[in-house]
């Protein structure tokens, strides 16, 4: 029986076609597995790519949009513009009440700094302050201050309004912000403090640039006494008095 069963089953073989179909099937499965593992790798790596792109995006945005320059415009309204690496305005802040009024109807964000300064100076809200004796001061704090200043000196700020353009250290920006003052005003305040005027940062905020400049020139011409309370009140009142007469002066300015 052993032999007979051996002989009987010995005649049963897998056909070549069966073997071939197994080989083909395994190759097919192998390709699927390879494709799936490739897909799996891609799926696994997708979040990594996404994070990488996000980082590049944020890095790029930070590089171009981070504040690198500050431009302050002071008459009595004090306004400070923050510029990005492309010299475009990313923020416009008022540093006193008059400044807030001027900025109320102006949209400066995204504009080139020169266009923004010109818009600001030539705005209807700013015009009343630009009297004949007004001291328009534009102060720049930037690593490329020279480039920004040369642009300003060729603009209406200097050519039409005879504004003064100057620069300040980047450290001054922080100190000015701590006192709640614009760059331009802070610089004059610093000088007046050095001369022993006795003025506080708070006093200065309510005095126009014109009067601060006049006070500074008095000290530069030899004045030594501190500012009295009476004088301070006059200066602050003078400031508001000046504002009431702005329309009159504006006409005067137009004649220039």
């Amino acid at each position: 029986m052993y032999d007979e069963i051996q002989k009987a089953f010995d005649q049963i073989h897998a056909t070549e076609q069966m073997k071939q179909s197994v080989s083909d099937y395994l190759k097919q499965e192998n390709q699927k597995t390879t494709k799936n593992s490739a897909k799996f790798r891609l799926v696994t790596l997708a979040p990594v790519f996404a994070v990488l792109l996000l980082c590049i995006g944020i890095g790029n945005w930070y590089f171009w949009e981070m504040p690198v320059s500050y431009v302050s415009v002071d008459v009595n309204p004090s306004i400070e513009l923050t510029l990005n690496r492309r010299n475009r305005v990313t923020d416009a802040k008022s540093r006193n009440r008059d400044g807030a009024k001027v900025l109320e109807h102006l949209q400066l964000k995204g504009k080139d700094y020169l266009e923004a300064v010109e818009l600001l100076v030539e705005s209807d809200a700013m015009q009343p302050y630009l009297t004949a004796d007004a001291e328009l001061t534009v102060t720049v704090a930037s690593v490329k201050a020279e480039e920004l200043l040369s642009g300003l000196q060729d603009s209406v700020v200097a050519t039409h309004y005879h504004g003064m353009c100057g620069s300040a250290d980047m450290e001054t920006v922080t100190a000015a912000h701590d006192c709640g003052m614009s760059l331009g005003k802070y610089q004059i305040y610093q000088l007046l403090t050095q001369y022993g005027s006795g003025l506080t940062a708070e006093n200065c905020q309510n005095i126009s640039m014109c009067q601060l400049q006049q006070l500074l020139s008095q000290y530069e011409n030899g004045r030594s006494e501190t500012v009295s309370e009476n004088e301070l009140e006059n200066m602050q009142a003078g400031c508001s008095h000046g504002r009431q007469q702005h329309h009159h002066h504006s006409g005067h300015h137009d004649e220039q």
Partner: protein, 160 residues
């Protein structure tokens, strides 16, 4: 995963054996091809190392038997007697052996496996017990009962 060469070698060595086990349980070539594919796919994906060729062969027998059972369950073919498949082999099997094969295939499944494994593959009752997860004594009983059935169906003229 196993290398292509190792798999090709296994296909060459064990396809006949798997084909014979399929003959015991399945009805046609298509089902046999399905089982062959499934068994060798499992072989490819089986990462454990076989201790010996004998270990590998026993593993393949067990996987083939399970694959046949699964396929039958899937296709609801429990009650079908796998004799049709023999007609596909008629051209290659000698007429005198055809009768014996028909009788073996007509046995209940539990006898066919032990008869085949003992008489053709030469496994002892103990080895078959390990392979099929059955007690050695159960295998002896199945072999003895299977032999009786074969004798009866062969007409009692042969000495099994």
């Amino acid at each position: 995963m196993r290398g292509e060469q190792e798999v090709e070698q296994a296909i060459e060595s064990y396809s006949d054996m798997i084909r014979r086990i399929c003959l015991l349980h399945l009805n046609n070539h298509e089902d046999t091809e399905d089982v062959l594919q499934e068994v060798f796919l499992k072989y490819v994906l089986h990462s454990a190392v076989f201790e010996s060729k004998e270990h590998e062969k026993a593993w393949l027998i067990r996987v083939t038997l399970n694959a046949c059972k699964d396929l039958k369950r899937k296709l609801f073919r429990h009650s079908t007697v796998p004799l049709d498949v023999l007609s596909e082999e008629a051209a290659s099997v000698m007429p005198e052996q055809m009768e014996l094969l028909e009788i073996v295939l007509s046995l209940p499944a539990k006898y066919k496996d032990v008869i085949y494994l003992h008489y053709y593959e030469g496994y002892t009752a103990k080895e078959i017990g390990t392979m099929l997860h059955k007690k050695e004594n159960t295998v002896y009983s199945l072999l003895s009962r299977g032999r009786e059935l074969l004798k009866q169906r062969l007409g009692g003229g042969r000495n099994v």
